[in-house]
């Protein structure tokens, strides 16, 4: 069998780079720190592709299924014989695929950032954080057990917090980073509860044990029940809550749009391609448990995903900030992935949804990173995020324009580009198992095409505003990643994904259902594009008319359906007033009061005993002898009466 122990280097290199740049970065030239960071990631990138090649092509299959390989496993904390936390590297089809995704996007973003961040203060800090993030994400992907995953899950949260708040002098960035951290942390509470219930029931943290068919997770599947659902189902729903927080699913999505305050390459890496799909990855990791012992949990996943995807798509149609449009589009696409996993069943053809979801995760990482990096290039050129201040940019930014167009066509599901395949497989799976969700997703596909092309026409065509200085194309370090990702977006769809990733790790072949799925989806896609073309190709009053005729919906969507306000109302008005105040009063008067009392007693005692420490040696000797005599008498006395 191939030895995979070198894979441990893939996450370790970035953490060493982080420590190195973090400790010595301020002494080197900014560019040097960028190059060191990028080189470190390049090595991880190469190692990941090598691992993928070795794993998929040079490793024997067992009963036709890809093996789950524990490449490295170290017992980290041994509490009791049974309860221990391990750290290690687990290789299976999805973790290997994620390795490829994470290192590819991260590598591209590193190269891009060398140009994009030029001249920013804290250049080396930026690269140090990027490396920290890459380490955390890779550790999460490779986790061998749910506890290790949780640790890295939190680390990912921290690095995301640091990167969103990168411009820490800007109040909005600070607020956004706090919001992201608190909301996801709240969701992680659910995750932790889920982990505790799950491991309590099954007696293991280990993914291989948990997901083996006939393993402890399946055996205790039924368990006791609560409110009509088994304990197992509840634990998995809690776990999904953590996933939903990280993946910005409704109603825990409110942090994602604000997170766009971070530098654009960060949005591309963390809030588009990698971290936000961690929730999908989590569900996929535990998929056998979900599918075999808690199918109700999967239903929840599917409906949450579907609703989020519709909800986000509607909002995306009204936003004016290009990064926010992309943020909502990310949320919507992750909804698709959740739907894919949610409607899937375990094994063979029925597992089409699972495969499609992973496939979409893969293609989405490429084209969404491309969209964000393209948006970064636009922002770099016009120094604004708002669509009103853009227009006619196709003349000034030719490379950005072409690559951006490719990405828009891809996300709209135009045939023979990558997302066409992945999205249609999700739709096929939905068509098989849940017609309602299928129609919702079909409609969302149309909306997607519409809002993406609204963005495209507004930015690259339409009327040119008055630019302060002529926009110019980005430097080479920024355009090369764009071109690479554009090529990936076009061709990633031709990977026979079912050969590599499937719910039971056994390769299978999938066909596109042209009649029921592909044709309708192409038609809605084209409709969306056409509508956008009519409304936004040239400046016209059509959008305003449209907005007026759907006034209620438009205003609601424009204000993100007032969810931020709702959350603020609940936290500030209700929780702060009716829960926090009484608790604070109790804390201030009862708890602090008794603490102050204890402190007063301590202090008074301290003054009283001062006399012992007189400095007189005779007295010290006296106390010494007295002490030993007293103890001697005490214990001899004890001895007589007790024994």
């Amino acid at each position: 069998m191939t030895n995979f122990s070198y894979t441990v280097l893939i996450p370790l290199i970035p953490i060493f780079v982080f420590l190195f740049i973090g400790l010595t970065g301020h002494k080197m030239k900014p560019l040097v720190s960028g190059i060191i960071g990028t080189t470190g990631l390049a090595i991880s990138f190469i190692l990941s592709y090598f691992t993928a090649y070795q794993y998929f092509f040079n490793t024997e299959k067992i009963n036709g299924a890809y093996q789950k390989i524990l490449a490295v496993n170290i017992t980290w904390l041994q509490f009791t014989d049974k309860l221990h936390v391990d750290m290690g590297v687990l290789l299976d089809p999805i973790s290997v695929m994620m390795l490829v995704v994470v290192t590819t996007v991260s590598f591209m973003v590193h190269i891009y950032s060398i140009g994009y961040m030029k001249g920013e203060r804290g250049y080396h800090r930026f690269f140090a954080f990027l490396s920290l993030f890459s380490f955390s994400m890779l550790g999460l992907v490779l986790a061998t057990n749910i506890f290790q995953m949780y640790i890295f899950w939190e680390l990912v949260g921290v690095s995301s917090f640091l990167l969103i708040g990168f411009y820490y002098e800007k109040p909005s960035a600070v607020a956004a980073s706090k919001k992201a951290f608190i909301v996801t942390r709240f969701a992680d509470l659910g995750f932790l509860i889920g982990i505790l219930i799950l491991s309590f029931n099954t007696g293991t943290f280990d993914f291989i044990n948990l997901t083996t068919v006939g393993g402890p997770a399946m055996a205790t599947g039924a368990g006791a029940s609560f409110l009509g659902l088994s304990v197992m189902t509840w634990s998995l729903i809690f776990v999904f809550m953590g996933g939903a927080g990280k993946s910005a699913m409704f109603p825990l999505h409110i942090w994602l749009p604000d997170a766009m305050e971070g530098p654009t390459p960060v949005s591309a890496l963390i809030h588009a391609a990698t971290m936000v799909v961690a929730g999908v990855y989590l569900v996929a990791r535990l998929f056998p448990v979900y599918a075999l012992s808690a199918p109700d949990g999967l239903t929840v996943v599917a409906y949450v995903g579907s609703f989020s995807s519709l909800f986000a798509a509607v909002i995306a149609c009204t936003q004016m900030d290009i990064k926010r449009v992309l943020a909502y589009s990310t949320m919507s696409q992750i909804g698709y992935m959740m739907v894919g996993v949610g409607v899937s069943r375990y094994g063979g053809e029925a597992g089409l949804g699972f495969m499609a979801s992973m496939f979409h995760l893969f293609t989405h990482a490429m084209f969404k990173a491309l969209l964000f990096l393209g948006a970064g290039s636009i922002i770099h050129a016009v120094h604004s995020n708002v669509m009103n201040e853009m227009g006619g940019l196709r003349k000034y930014l030719p490379i950005t324009h072409i690559t951006f167009l490719i990405a828009c066509l891809t996300i709209a599901g135009i045939p023979f580009l990558s997302a066409f395949f992945s999205k249609d497989e999700i739709l096929s799976a939905a068509f098989e198992h849940n017609r309602l969700i299928f129609f919702v997703q079909l409609f969302v596909a149309g909306l997607t095409a519409f809002y993406m092309f609204r963005l495209y026409f507004r930015v690259f065509w339409n009327k040119e505003p008055h630019y302060h200085h002529t926009p110019h194309e980005a430097p080479l370090t920024m355009t090369i990643p764009l071109i690479f990702l554009a090529i990936a977006s076009i061709f990633a769809g031709y990977i026979p994904f079912g050969q590599f990733v499937s719910s039971d790790s056994i390769p299978f072949h999938s066909e596109i259902d042209w009649l029921h799925v592909a044709i309708p989806s192409i038609i809605v896609g084209l409709l969306g594009i056409t509508l956008a073309f009519v409304m936004y190709k040239k400046e016209s009053n059509l959008p305003d008319k449209m907005a007026n005729s759907l006034k209620l919906l438009y205003v609601g969507a424009f204000n993100k359906f007032y969810f931020d306000e709702l959350y603020l109302f609940v936290t500030k008005k209700i929780i702060f007033n009716y829960i926090s105040r009484p608790v604070a009063w109790f804390d201030r008067h009862i708890v602090d009061g008794s603490m102050n009392g204890i402190a007063w007693i301590t202090n008074a005692a301290s003054i009283k005993i001062k006399g012992f420490q007189s400095g007189q040696l005779q007295q010290y000797a006296f106390v010494f002898v007295l002490g030993s005599l007293l103890l001697g008498i005490l214990f001899s006395y004890f001895f007589i009466y007790l024994f």
């Binding site: 017992t75 980290w76 904390l77 041994q78 402190a599 301590t602 202090n603 005692a605 301290s606 003054i607 005993i609 001062k610 012992f612 420490q613 400095g615 040696l617 007295q619 010290y620 000797a621 106390v623 010494f624 002898v625 007295l626 002490g627 030993s628 103890l631 001697g632 214990f635 001899s636 004890f638 001895f639 007589i640 024994f643």
Partner: protein
């Protein structure tokens, strides 16, 4: 017995040879070049510390007078690491003009006491233990009085030697009773013949009082504050970390290997002493203004925590004590290192002098903060894990009230440790300590401490290793 057997005592032998080399070097170096001894001594001691880590040979020597096992070897290595850090910290001080002619004395004295402690750890008989104890104590008094010209230092020396003499007398009386009632001084013989009759109980109490003096447990602690305050800073850190750690090691060895049969006596004894030590040490520490005196009292309180592990009286307890002392060495030496660096640069050692230190010397303040956090036991630094395992040891043996009192005391200690942090980071000062560069050896020592504080808690191998050897007495 043949020559190979001497390998068993390589810690002591190598150190003795080094001591002799330093002595000869001192005689052959001219007066104005005495400073050359510093790198020689440090280098040689480093070699000694590394040799200590060579694979362990276990066995007995001199008819069970001397014993060595993995456990004892580890204890000696732990002490070696601590002494190495202290040697690095004291370079700047030894270079000062006052000490020009007596540099080698420092090394000779410190190495002699260390040899004494190592013999104590390896003792297989009370006679050996007593010899080691004297070897570890008498040169210590000379060390405390090292700054002869300073009256407080001389006072510290006198106080130490007088109170040590008395405690030795009491300890010797205890040993006499033990010999009188059992007819032997060998641990393995005594342990078989020891029972809980009143005379033997008294003998044990007297012996324990002598050991308690070394660890400065209440009520045998009164010498501590004056001696710590008067001695040179590096000697104080040696006293409070190495000497105390070694004595704690010896106390557990003796309690487990000799007095195991009367554990129903010493467990309640430990209970009382532990509560007294933690509480009184803390109550005194709260009011101290002088940093050395402050750390002296806080180290008394820390000794009370160590008893928690001993009282656990099981494998976990033993492991937790060694582990705690290992961490304590790094944390306390980190704190003392900062105090000594500041003292030798500015001659300031009061808490008020530290006001606003963060603005002028941020790195030193951060090291100090980490060291204090580790002493207080705040996660995730190593001190937390040390205390955690001590508490676990006591709790698994059912001493819940004791753990509760210990937790209360840990909270009190947090208060006074934070006073220092507050002074450095929050208090404003019109006349803060100006920025200065720390010399390289002291910097290296502080870096070692910081690394220790950060990583020992996370490297579970260390704890697992200690756990694996803890049953080896």
């Amino acid at each position: 017995m043949n020559l190979d057997n001497f390998l068993l005592m390589r810690h002591e032998l190598v150190l003795t040879i080094i001591t002799l080399i330093v002595l000869i070097a001192d005689l052959s170096i001219k007066e104005d070049k005495k400073q050359r001894i510093i790198p020689i001594a440090i280098f040689l001691f480093g070699v000694n510390a590394i040799i200590g880590f060579f694979p362990v040979v276990t066995g007995n020597l001199f008819g069970n007078m001397y014993k060595i096992s993995d456990l004892q070897c580890t204890m000696k290595n732990v002490l070696n690491i601590g002494v190495f850090i202290i040697l690095l910290q004291s370079v700047e001080w030894l270079k000062s003009t006052d000490n020009k002619l007596k540099i080698s004395e420092f090394y000779l004295l410190i190495f002699s006491t260390l040899i004494g402690m190592q013999f104590m750890i390896s003792a297989g008989s009370f006679l050996m233990l007593y010899l080691g104890l004297e070897l570890a104590t008498i040169p210590m008094a000379a060390l405390a009085a090292y700054d002869k010209s300073r009256s407080t230092s001389a006072e510290a020396g006198v106080k130490l030697i007088l109170s040590a003499a008395m405690s030795s007398a009491v300890l010797l009386l205890g040993i006499t009773f033990i010999y009188g009632t059992t007819g032997s001084t060998y641990f393995d013989v005594v342990s078989l013949k020891f029972s809980n009759n009143p005379l033997q109980t008294l003998a044990f109490i007297l012996f324990f009082s002598g050991m308690a003096f070394k660890i400065s447990l209440v009520p045998f602690h009164l010498w501590t504050a004056d001696v710590y305050e008067g001695s040179p800073v590096n000697v104080t850190s040696y006293l409070s970390v190495i000497s105390k750690g070694a004595s704690a090691f010896i106390l557990i060895i003796v309690l487990f290997s000799v007095f195991n049969s009367i554990s129903m006596i010493w467990k309640p004894l430990m209970y009382i002493i532990s509560v007294l030590t933690m509480t009184i040490g803390n109550l005194f520490a709260i009011r101290q203004q002088n940093m050395k005196r402050f750390l002296a009292f806080s180290s008394i309180a820390q000794a009370g925590f160590i008893l928690l592990g001993i009282i656990g009286a099981n494998g976990v307890g033993m492991t937790s004590v060694i582990y705690f002392i290992f961490i304590y060495i790094f944390s306390n030496l980190g704190a003392f290192g900062v105090v000594s660096v500041i003292y030798y640069k500015t001659k300031k050692e009061n808490m008020d002098d530290y006001d606003g230190l963060y603005l002028t010397n941020p790195k030193l303040s951060l090291v100090m903060m980490l060291a204090l956090f580790s002493l207080a036991g705040i996660p995730p630094v190593a001190g937390f894990f040390g205390k955690f395992f001590l508490f676990t040891a006591a709790a698994t043996s059912g001493y819940y009230w004791l753990v509760f009192i210990a937790v209360l005391n840990a909270t009190i200690s947090l208060y006074y440790y934070l006073l220092v942090v507050k002074a450095m980071f929050i208090n404003k000062s019109d006349n803060p300590i100006a920025y200065f560069k720390t010399d390289a050896p002291a910097k290296a020592a502080l870096i070692m401490c910081v690394v220790g504080i950060f990583f020992i808690g996370f490297l579970s191998v260390i704890y697992s290793y200690m756990a694996s050897i803890s049953y080896g007495i």
